[in-house]
């Protein structure tokens, strides 16, 4: 062990946090705080669907500060979440599963896909924009791991 650098040369600080649940029937969005740039490395969230039959259409998004779409990630119709299902979405940089959905038991679904490489400025948002959510559907266990820089 010679001249080893013991600090992360990529710079930035690693942060890992959870978001509060949105209201029932509402999507969630995380806004990059002022004074930072964030590289979202992983996000996970759980959707508990009510028993109401609805056309729930999974969609993850990145918006710029004006609300314009910068990225959309749809899941295909075969992988939609259904009435009475609990669906966990786990998206991360480097994931090799795409549009992946696995029904572990009858009412429990695991979904994976790739987060793109990203470096998001303050005011950008990342989160969900599902179509067809029922008023009683509930997002919870929203967790994010990121690398952030002060700018």
């Amino acid at each position: 062990m010679g001249n080893v650098c013991y600090v992360p040369l990529a710079g930035g600080e690693s942060v890992s946090f959870a978001l509060p649940n949105p209201a029932a029937g509402a999507d969630w969005l995380y806004t990059i705080p002022a004074g930072y740039e964030y590289e979202i490395r992983a996000l996970q969230c759980k959707l508990i669907c009510s028993l109401v039959v609805a056309d729930r259409r999974p969609l993850f998004v990145i918006y710029d500060t004006a609300g314009n779409d910068h990225w959309r990630l749809y899941f295909s119709p075969a992988n939609y979440t259904l009435a009475g299902e609990t669906s966990v979405f786990s998206l991360y940089v480097g994931c090799q599963r795409t549009d992946y959905s696995f029904l572990t038991v009858v009412t429990s679904r695991q979904n994976n896909d790739t987060l793109p490489y990203n470096r998001l400025p303050a005011g950008y948002q990342i989160g969900t924009a599902f179509g067809g959510l029922d008023a009683a559907d509930q997002w919870s266990e929203i967790r994010i791991n990121a690398l952030r820089w002060r700018v």
Partner: protein, 145 residues
């Protein structure tokens, strides 16, 4: 946290959020790296609405060098007919390849640091006179050179 942490991005560069003006109907959209900069495209989103003319449109995303020859061609396998609205969501690091879901094309962008005068944008075969590109946004890292 704590210790000898560098809190600034060591890759340098500044993030630049660009809204590209709509091109004229029937034209592709193209962005040219301005003088004094090099840029890496992180992600882009845009929309194509086709008119009622029948020919099949073949969508493609390209990056061109200053010599006008393309360095990257990304042809999509799902073609577009008349009267359709399609979105394109392309991102560095996406694992989706030539994927088409809910009228949206997904694919990965190349990791390139493009030079002043190089270009990226759409290159659509059989684009019709009333076809319209819109909602063209991208985020990139740029360096002053």
């Amino acid at each position: 946290m704590g210790g000898n942490v560098c809190f600034v991005p060591l890759e340098g560069g500044e993030l630049i959020d660009v809204n590209v003006p709509n091109p004229a109907p029937g034209a592709d959209w193209v962005y040219t790296i301005p003088a004094g900069y090099e840029m890496t495209l992180l992600h882009t989103f845009y929309r194509l609405v086709t008119d009622a003319n029948l020919p099949t449109r073949y969508p493609m995303f390209n990056l061109w060098g200053v010599d006008n020859f393309d360095r990257v061609r990304m042809k999509f396998g799902t073609f577009i007919g008349p009267g359709a609205q399609n979105n394109f969501s392309l991102a560095l690091g996406s694992a989706r390849a030539d994927a088409y879901t809910r009228n949206t094309y997904h694919d990965a962008l190349p990791m390139m640091r493009c030079l002043t005068g190089e270009r990226w944008g759409s290159a659509t075969s059989n684009l019709q006179a009333g076809d319209q590109y819109s909602l063209i946004h991208f985020l990139a890292v740029r360096w002053r050179v």
